[in-house]
């Protein structure tokens, strides 16, 4: 992954978020407070604007800028979490281009940042339930010799599966946890937006 691809990815996420804005809001309305679409949209609109004039020297610069902007504009639970995730990932990628192996490391750092800040564990019905399996899938695919396109496709599939798998879970973190058993039967909005980020990654890598 080079700087151009990273920028293309993030901008494509912004577009995807706009397209799925209502879906994210509806999912959040069911078990939260109906703002996840607006939050992600506000954040990535700001990110797009920020990247416009930004001159990154490394792949990491793109991701750190993305994370910092999200952290300063989103608010809510997802703002600090995505902010910390992108910032942590970016800090790992200190070159103008990153190898697939480095990308995996960066995503491990992102996962660690989310876990540290949010204190969620797998199965708590959060974005982690999409993020963690996606990273594992990426790593395994690469380990088995897949190229980046195939590996990111596997990661995207794992993220989507992970997001879908949150439906029967009872939330134990975030706003949805207040619902107790009533949170069961709805897909987690944050896991859904995480899946979106990975499907977008797969798409831009495939299109390259």
């Amino acid at each position: 992954m080079d700087i151009a691809l990273a920028s293309t990815w993030i901008r494509a996420v912004a577009t995807a978020v706009e397209e799925h804005r209502d879906q994210l809001t509806q999912l959040d309305a069911a078990i939260g407070d109906a703002d996840h679409g607006a939050n992600m949209s506000r954040g990535f609109t700001a990110v797009s604007a920020a990247l416009e004039t930004f001159e990154p020297a490394t792949v990491g610069d793109v991701l750190v800028k993305t994370g910092s902007t999200l952290m300063s504009t989103v608010g809510g639970a997802s703002g600090p979490l995505y902010g910390a995730a992108f910032r942590a990932a970016g800090k790992v990628l200190t070159e103008p281009s990153a190898s697939p192996r480095q990308l995996v490391e960066a995503l491990h750092a992102a996962t660690a940042a989310v876990t540290q800040l949010g204190a969620a564990t797998l199965g708590d019905k959060t974005m982690l339930d999409a993020l963690a399996p996606a990273v594992t899938a990426l790593e395994e695919a690469l380990f088995h010799g897949a190229d980046l396109a195939a590996a990111t496709a596997a990661a995207a599939k794992a993220a989507e599966d992970g997001a879908h798998a949150t439906t029967p879970l009872q939330a134990r973190k975030g706003r949805a946890s207040y619902l107790g058993p009533r949170s069961i039967g709805h897909q987690d909005p944050g896991a859904t937006s995480t899946a979106l980020i990975f499907t977008t990654l797969a798409a831009v890598v495939a299109a390259r």
Binding site: N39, M71, S72, A77, S78, G79, L117, R175, Y178, L179
Partner: protein
Amino acid sequence: MKKFINTPESVLTDALAGIAALHPELKVDRDNRIIVRADAPRTGKVAMLSGGGSGHEPLHGGFVGPGMLDAAVPGEVFTSPVPDQILAAAKAVDGGAGVLFVVKNYTGDVMNFQLAAELAADEGITARTVLIDDDVAVQDSTWTAGRRGTGATVFVEKIAGALADRGADLDKVAEMAEKVNAASRSFAIALTACTTPSAGRPGFDLPDDEIEIGVGIHGEPGRSRGKLRPAKELVGLAMNAILADQPLNAGDQTIVMINGLGGTPLIELYVVAAEVAAVLATQGVRIGASLVGNYVTSLDMAGVSITVCRADDEMLDLWAAPVATPGLRWGH
């Protein structure tokens, strides 16, 4: 969706313009989205800072002023403020004696204030955080995000704010804030869902004869639904939950808030107040002070929350101390 707004995106900045125009006693920084006392920072005084998603007005911006908050940081509607914003407010009000962050226990608020506290520390500002978690509708366990913060926030901001005004240090103010929070319990019932400007439609669908019991102030559905019942029964339900969690004894003094969630007429709040007073009277519990009105709202939601704080003499004295904010004002 029918609202007095210009665009869903500009609600917060437009409202801040209104606050700026009509409250010359407050300074509104529209870029940073913070509301501070015009005379901030006050040297040597512990600064009280609170914030959270917008849509709960007068909380928090309406409680900025002498005797209560030094600054409020409003996020977007139902969305926590961001760390930069909180930091900017902390810088604007720190008078050297430190800043108390009064934070309602929601994941987003907790994380954003935590990040802000780290940033503040980097700049040499001492910040302490008090988490408000008075909502007994939510189970408090290690398996959840813990109880939500709601009505007790007003009690904490007023009482700890008065103590800060009297010159107490940061630890003392924080301790009082924790004490008030620990002594307070809340329970809310919604008759309708609220509509956020960005979502454009109600957060949940409620049949014509059903209510949400234990609803959250961000319009989150409650823990259960039930049929609409007479006020007396609904209050019985709420007071049972409150008193089961914190039993009160005959002779105990309380501060009580009958709070409208935004769409409930005041006359109904007084109907509820009568029932709350009746329950407390049968237990021999005294109401030392009270608020009836819209203080911690959920936009246009029709609903009511009841908050009961077991108050000692010091708390009642601090409650009665002068306050001069748009939303709460007496004794000045």
